[in-house]
């Protein structure tokens, strides 16, 4: 009831602010405390993307940024070649011997919490 009144008047109670801030800080804390999880996620992410395009594994960057009310994972994955069949192969195909690698940078963004923040 009180929360409804607050929403109606467009104000946020300090306990709601506290809850949101805590949720966010704990996500950041947990990530900082589990570097191996980030490494595993990074590896899996590269593996999946490698099924479609060739990526420069050494230059992959994964960062977490706090936005207003959510935590976002930002991955910068340099693509070295897109000479792949259109249909996604289930297993990595043999290495291609196409033209010299073209570098393209693509910014991939995924919200870890609410889908509303995903671009």
């Amino acid at each position: 009831m009180m929360e409804w009144v607050r929403k109606f008047f467009g104000t946020t109670s300090s306990s709601t602010t506290a809850k949101d801030r805590l949720r966010l800080v704990l996500m950041t804390d947990h990530l900082a405390l589990a570097p191996e999880i980030i490494e595993n996620m990074k590896r899996d992410l590269i593996d999946v993307i490698s099924r479609y395009v060739e990526v420069d594994r050494e230059k992959v960057e994964v960062n977490f940024e706090r936005e207003d009310r959510s935590l976002a994972m930002l991955a910068n994955i340099p693509i070295t070649s897109v000479n792949r069949p259109a249909a996604p192969p289930p297993t990595p195909p043999p290495p291609t011997s196409g033209p010299p690698p073209q570098r393209r940078r693509r910014r991939k963004k995924a919200a870890t919490q609410s889908p509303a923040t995903a671009q």
Binding site: M2, R6, S13, S15, A18, L26
Partner: protein, 269 residues
């Protein structure tokens, strides 16, 4: 008088200081003893002894935990009997020593020794996550974490639960809840805290003046049965003992002015 079965060693911890670990230990111990259980309270806060004064036993302490660990006195000599309960005992912390003087392995052995003599060994953990925390936890078989409904406390409990690891399934006591503030949206509610920590809830203790008053006097509130907060400690003790009673909670007593305030949406801060 060795018991055939080893007692339970429960560490009471929080990470953050000042959330009420010592008060909780004293009251939970008193409530468990009131049920007839043999209870030893161990003050693991070496250098900052306080459990004795909260229990009103400060004038009876002759020896402390380091005296026992260094084999200067026997465990029985160092245990201080409570004034009221025949089954409640205190092992005080050393006041003029430092936390790093405690040998972790000897501490583990001491707690195990206590478990042969008592049904419950409650270990009052110091604030922080350093050696003092490790020494308090080393002999424990269970953990109770205490959090106030504040962002700093909840965050520290989350960290401590991570440090406790898989050996424990910590249970939560939410302390110093102010129901009026929760109702006005000015304090995290029990649901808010639990949505973040996801821990089994042992119970909620309200922020009541009588806790301060009884602590002033060195007479733990749980010696009594005539107040809601005292009974909340008894309910927590019953749950710890494995009885199927509901976790005590705290309801706001709504006065006329509160009703008027909530009708107009209240003032938010």
């Amino acid at each position: 008088m060795p018991a055939p079965k080893l007692g339970r060693a429960i560490v009471i911890t929080s990470g953050k200081g000042g959330v009420g670990k010592t008060t909780t230990t004293a009251n939970l111990g008193t409530a468990l003893a009131a049920r007839g259980a043999r209870v030893a309270l161990v003050d693991a806060d070496v250098g900052l002894r306080n459990l004795d004064i909260v229990l009103g036993l400060e004038s009876r302490v002759k020896y402390h935990v380091l005296d026992v660990l260094e084999e200067k006195v026997s465990l029985d000599e160092a245990l201080v009997a409570d004034k009221h309960s025949e089954t409640l005992f205190l092992l005080a912390a050393a006041q003029t020593r430092e936390k790093d003087e405690v040998d972790t392995e000897k501490m583990r052995a001491l707690i195990e020794d206590l478990r042969t003599k008592f049904d419950y060994v409650l270990i009052d953990c110091p604030a922080g996550i350093e050696l003092g925390f490790k020494n308090a936890v080393v002999g424990a078989t269970e953990a109770i974490v205490v959090s106030t409904p504040e962002v700093s406390s909840v965050r520290d409990v989350d960290r401590v639960v991570g440090l406790l690891g898989n050996r424990f399934k910590p249970q939560l006591i939410i302390n110093r809840l102010r129901p009026q503030l929760v109702r006005k949206g000015k304090m995290l509610s029990v649901e808010d805290v639990n949505a973040i920590l996801h821990l089994p809830l042992l119970g909620v203790i309200a922020d009541e003046p009588e806790i301060i008053i009884t602590t002033n006097r060195g007479e733990p509130l749980a010696r009594r049965h005539d107040s809601e907060t005292a009974n909340a400690y008894h309910a927590i003790a019953a749950r710890v003992a494995g009885e199927d009673v509901a976790a005590p909670t705290v309801e706001a007593k709504e006065g006329f002015l509160d009703k008027l305030g909530s009708f107009f949406g209240g003032r938010r801060a």
